[in-house]
Amino acid sequence: MDHQLHPHKWVTAHADYLYNFAITRINDDELAKDLVQETFLAALQKVEGFAGKSSERTWLTAILKNKIIDTYRKKSSGLRTSDIREAEDEQSDFFNADDGHWINNCPKEFGIEDKDALVSKEFERIMQRCLQKLPALWMSVFTMKHIDEEPTETICTELRVTQANFWVIIHRAKLNLRACLQKNWI
């Protein structure tokens, strides 16, 4: 059966869902609200293009997703080569420049490595704080890959980064996140 749109009920039916979707990805309350509003307004313009193939919510979420990617792009205004070089340079915090051996933040056991789940609330809180410290572009690459499970090619195209830079960001983000956890947990 083809799905139909009911704009008169959009806010009641989907506003909270879309707001949650946005807030978990951009972590900015005002911006999340703006994006929800923009999503509905943009959707109204596209009503005629709605083919009924997906549910109303899926359709609206796809529009929101594009809005979120736009803000990622604006925040990072593409990835400049200097940013990457900076990221590479900073890596000397972790590794010896000559042979690549650990020099700082050498991994130590957290005591959670072998257990399945059941991590304390305290650890989760630290994780959340550490995530917030990541630069916007890293965060967006990270969430698109891990949460939305987008293919690497899609992420690179949408965020306008090269594949090589993509892997540098992923590596860099994880090194920082892990080091932050270690610093605050042990």
Partner: protein, 91 residues
């Protein structure tokens, strides 16, 4: 430094390959190098486990925050629906 020694020392490359392998493909040669490195490096063995745990935790964190259901306040919702109605009436 010999080739083998470079592989054994290079934790930067090893952790890079761990990340790449966990969500993409690495070449056969890279896979062998990673295995050799991990055999001799306890730091990177810990890193590898933690990297996986971190991925799972981040996913879990996002899932649970999606379920936490932050609500928009009613005033904002009413304005929003009014805005939509306004647009609908234009046509």
């Amino acid at each position: 430094m010999s080739y083998l020694k470079r592989v054994i020392y290079n934790c930067k490359q090893a952790t890079f390959l761990i990340e790449k392998k966990s969500m993409g493909k690495i070449s056969f040669r890279e896979a062998i190098e990673l295995r050799i490195h991990l055999y001799g490096c306890s730091f990177c063995r810990i890193y590898k486990k933690q990297s996986r745990v971190i991925n799972e935790m981040v996913q879990e964190l996002f899932r649970s925050s999606m379920q936490r259901n932050a609500k928009l306040d009613d005033g904002f919702k009413k304005e929003l629906q009014d805005r939509i109605e306004e647009e609908l009436n234009k046509n």
